[in-house]
């Protein structure tokens, strides 16, 4: 794990392209089982492969911070749980992300939060997988921003499913290999249910 995800990365830099933040519901991110790196360079970005067939180096999520706690003695870090209509994101911020950690430390639960961060895939000793989001920034937002995000995440999910159905994108081919038993169409239902929870 390196500090390359620190927010200072966004400086102007010749040829450097910032990875976009994907809009993903918790229920989809939770299903990620494959992480890969493009290129051999130490700075090459790592991606998790979303089950709807898109690589993802960064996520943007909005939900309710329901719980947070401090861990560690020497290396302090914060963990938190952010709930969206489909499930829960696990977020963390450590001393490599001091700004994010201070932001997270300050927020009183429960609160709507907007999080930009990098997803990472872990496997526990008993073989279970865990996707956790290393926070780059976290801010308290209002309900409207949360609702806008649900629309945005639903739209992005449906867009990915359409690309998936077309079946030609390189990452679409990857999901057949890495998620053979997942039916992408379950995420359409998920998006519908998330949208249905938005009260206009």
């Amino acid at each position: 794990m390196s500090a390359f995800g620190a927010p200072s990365q966004g400086k102007r830099n010749g040829g450097f392209e910032r990875e976009p933040a994907r809009r993903v519901f918790a229920a989809e991110l939770r299903e990620c089982r494959y992480q890969f790196r493009e290129g051999d360079d130490e700075k090459s970005p790592t991606f998790v492969l979303l089950p709807t067939g898109e690589r993802c180096n960064r996520v943007f999520l909005v939900g309710t911070l329901t719980e947070k706690h401090r861990q560690g003695d020497q290396n302090i870090f914060y963990r938190g749980r952010v709930a969206d209509p489909t499930g829960t994101f696990f977020v963390m911020a450590g001393s490599y992300q001091p700004e994010a950690m201070q932001q997270l430390a300050k927020i009183e639960t429960p609160a709507f939060v907007a999080v930009v961060g990098k997803p990472n895939l872990y496997q526990t000793p008993d073989g279970a997988y865990l996707v956790s989001v290393r926070v780059e920034s976290i801010t308290v937002v209002d309900r409207e921003t949360r609702d806008l995000w649900i629309l945005d995440a639903a739209r992005s999910t449906l867009d990915r499913l359409d690309t998936c159905a077309a079946g030609t994108a390189p990452d679409t081919l990857r999901i057949k290999e890495h998620y053979p038993s997942l039916d992408p169409e379950t995420f359409r239902k998920m998006a519908y249910e998330a949208l249905a929870q938005v009260k206009i």
Binding site: P7, G10, E19, P20, A21, V115, V116, S156, E185
Partner: protein, 416 residues
């Protein structure tokens, strides 16, 4: 083919120049070319005419390609709009501008126009061509079109003939939309949207011109008789030089004919519109200090250090946000200037100054509050994209749209 008629036409041309030639001899030459060598009649006429012109050392009657059949010499002419680099052409046009030559090798340069368009011309000193006068019509025969920095040029060389045309024909150039401009010469009707501080002592004025279709940078260099354009004024600009640099066009108005116009133009186009979230706010955002030296305006470091003018204690405060806008597919570097920051973050420059002065964290406190107010928010930004950076003119928070929600529900529920 009626050789005698063609021969007659050629001989009369020669006679106009004060030489005599037997039409019968011409007819023999033509007949030989066409019947023995299978030359196209038009090409035969051209060839014989040029041969005779050379024989009598005449200029101004040589024909370029295509001049078939008809009676008058203008049949071989080309429209300026149609000529392309690499061609030898004959044109008739009006000299609409004389430019100061950039090199001693150039005797004269300027812009010549006909009803279809305009092109820059260059007469080499070696060509010994007669000087042309601005506002007069000329027939330029056998000039070469070449390309320099992506712009077509008409080269007047020693083989080119220039003949004054005595009548003053009406010439009303058509103006183009800014979005349709390409390198070369262009005419537009546009409004001065913005004036920039000049960056060069020889520069009279620079800024942005806009019309309904877009905007473009302009520059006027200092020269006798040149005046600045009023900001907000609408002008019809004939024969501006359109240069291209790094893929962006700019108009050089130094040689252009500029007429102040009534009315107004609603400048709308040229702007990019982007929706997304602000995912990062870079250091150097919030309340900043700027170098007070005239024309500098650079941001100072925390130690009030300007990279050019060193320590500056009489700095000027400003607000700005440098950050990244992310639409989920791509990220855009963006720059928000004071007015935009004030409305988006809900903090005026004065309020920010007061906050910085009365808070232990100083300017950092402004940064943190602005970050908390805008980071992770959905916004709609309008502005100009320059060098992969979006210069934001307006930025507003997005609102929920019920129609959007319904459409997405249908889309998600549409397939079982």
């Amino acid at each position: 083919m009626d050789f005698s008629q063609t021969a007659e036409r050629i001989s009369s041309k020669i006679e106009q120049k004060g030489q005599t030639v037997d039409p019968k001899k011409i007819e023999v030459k033509l007949r030989r070319l066409v019947e023995e060598f299978g030359v196209q009649p038009a090409e035969a006429e051209r060839s014989v005419t040029n041969e005779l012109a050379k024989e009598f050392n005449l200029t101004g009657i040589g024909m370029t390609g295509g001049g078939a059949g008809g009676g008058t010499g203008s049949k071989g002419d080309r429209s300026i709009a149609d000529i392309a680099p690499g061609e030898w052409v004959t044109i008739e046009g009006k000299v609409v501008a004389i430019l100061s030559p950039g090199s001693p090798a150039i005797a004269q340069s300027g812009i010549i126009a006909d009803a279809t368009g305009a092109i820059r011309f260059v007469a080499w000193a070696k060509a010994n061509a007669p000087k042309m006068n601005e506002g007069a019509w000329y027939r330029i025969e056998s000039a070469v079109v070449d390309e320099f920095k992506g712009i077509s040029n008409l080269k007047i060389h020693s083989g080119t003939a220039i003949k004054p045309v005595d009548e003053d024909r009406p010439l009303i150039p058509s103006t183009a939309k800014i979005s349709e401009l390409g390198p070369g010469i262009g005419s537009v009707r546009a409004k001065v949207v913005q004036e920039w501080e000049t960056t060069h002592e020889r520069m009279l004025q620079s800024g942005i011109l806009g019309d309904e279709s877009g905007t473009v940078k302009f520059v006027i260099w200092k020269e006798a008789g040149k005046e600045k354009l009023a900001v907000g004024g609408v002008f019809t600009i004939f024969y501006a030089q359109v240069d291209e640099f790094n893929g962006r066009l700019s108009l050089n108005l130094s040689a252009a004919t500029i007429i102040q116009d009534d009315g107004d133009i609603i400048v709308t186009g040229g702007d990019s519109e982007m929706r997304g979230i602000i995912v990062q706010i870079a250091p150097g955002s919030g309340l900043i200090k700027r170098c007070p030296v005239e024309g500098c305006n650079r941001a100072l470091s925390r130690q009030n250090y300007c990279p050019v003018h060193e320590i500056q204690l009489k700095y000027v405060y400003d607000l700005r946000i440098k950050g990244w806008l992310d639409d989920g597919k791509k990220t855009y570097n963006m720059l928000l200037q004071r007015e935009v920051v004030e409305s988006l973050a809900g903090m005026t420059l004065d309020a920010a100054k007061e906050l910085a002065e009365n808070n232990p964290l100083g300017m950092d406190e402004v940064f943190l509050r602005m970050r908390d107010a805008i980071l992770g928010r959905y916004v709609l930004c309008r502005g100009r994209e320059i060098d992969n950076r979006l210069l934001v003119r307006s930025c507003e928070r997005l609102k929920m749209e019920t129609g959007e929600h319904a459409a997405l529900l249908n889309r998600a529920g549409g397939v079982p």
